[in-house]
């Protein structure tokens, strides 16, 4: 019976068409440009945020708002460096694919889990000082005390909700990845 099933499996018709070597080489080159575009997408947030806050440094006279803007720009460079350092930006999907599956799969899952678990240290956390300084600077520009308090409370609540939401979502995905790692055993 096992042999019957194996025969059934091995004799199935597939759409398999041999791929000429030239085409393989061409696609390998395209894969590089795909990774190149993926890298550009990952840095796109930086390309938006840096000019905007660069403009703020020039636009706003308040020193705290200028300092906050500069800190946010510095944080964006730090995040970009972290993305690069973590290897997510310069590796092709097939790299390191010749190790045993368990080792390969475990490393992939652990890399993703670690990045998500430590998102405060390399993504969210570096943004906080700049945002806080910028918002405090902006609130000081508001002339009325009541408006100032409302402004601070509103923006702080919004930041906590956004950052907290991002953190909670990432922590949830990291726990799912950990369960998959646990299933691999030993």
């Amino acid at each position: 019976m096992s042999d019957d099933i194996k025969t059934l499996w091995q004799n199935q018709a597939t759409e398999y068409v041999p791929m000429p070597l030239e085409e393989v080489r061409k696609k390998a080159g395209r894969l590089h440009s795909r990774v190149h575009w993926r890298n550009i997408r990952e840095y796109a947030a930086m390309a938006v945020v840096v000019p905007v806050f660069g403009f703020y440094i020039w636009l706003f006279p308040a020193p705290l708002m200028r300092l906050g803007s500069a800190l946010i720009i510095a944080a964006m460079f730090y995040v970009a460096w972290q993305l690069h350092k973590r290897g997510a930006t310069d590796k092709l999907p097939a790299d390191d694919a010749s190790s045993t599956w368990t080792g390969y799969y475990r490393r992939e899952l652990e890399r993703q889990r670690d990045a998500l678990q430590r998102i405060w240290t390399w993504y969210l956390g570096p943004m906080v000082p700049g945002l806080v300084v910028f918002l405090v600077g902006a609130s000081l520009q508001t002339p009325h005390a009541a408006q100032k308090q409302a402004w601070i409370a509103g923006t702080a609540a919004l930041c906590i909700a956004v950052f907290g939401g991002v953190w909670a979502l990432n922590a949830w995905v990291a726990r799912k990845l950990q369960r998959k790692i646990d299933e691999l055993g030993g």
């Binding site: 019976m1 597939t14 045993t100 599956w101």
Partner: protein
Amino acid sequence: MTGANQDESYRLAVSQHGAALGRLVRAYEADPELRRDLLQDIHVGLWRSFAGFNGQCSMRTWVYRVAHNIASSHVLRRKRAAKQVSLDTLEELPDGGNLEESTGEKQRLAALMTMVRTLKPPDRQVILLYLEDLDAAAISDIVGLKPGAVATKIHRIKAVLARRFREGVAP
């Protein structure tokens, strides 16, 4: 490895294992368009990988490792993948009728394919390599599980296949 050797190893690998790669991608991806892309990714990955191949394992082991790893990464990236189960769960699920007696070869193959696609990556790899007629030692070398664990999985696979296709378990 030199460029010429890399090309030659790739050609040899494809001539010997190309058809198996075609079956492998069918078990990993149901959508024909995505399946074609996956197969191309595997070919490109295989060619690239031969730059680092120095006979540290057999060519068959190398080819299956690269192919399964790329296919597993593909499954991992699919956000809306169907729910996957382990062999343990599969053993407990109802088998859906006597496929051996009531259906033709095409339907039996379709039923087998559906069953394979529901399995989680490690179990799916073991069953695919088993269906390609590799022994427990070779499967262990590719997947990275201990030979005893592979043997246990193969035993379960045989039981599930026997129950679903209504015949005795092969020794």
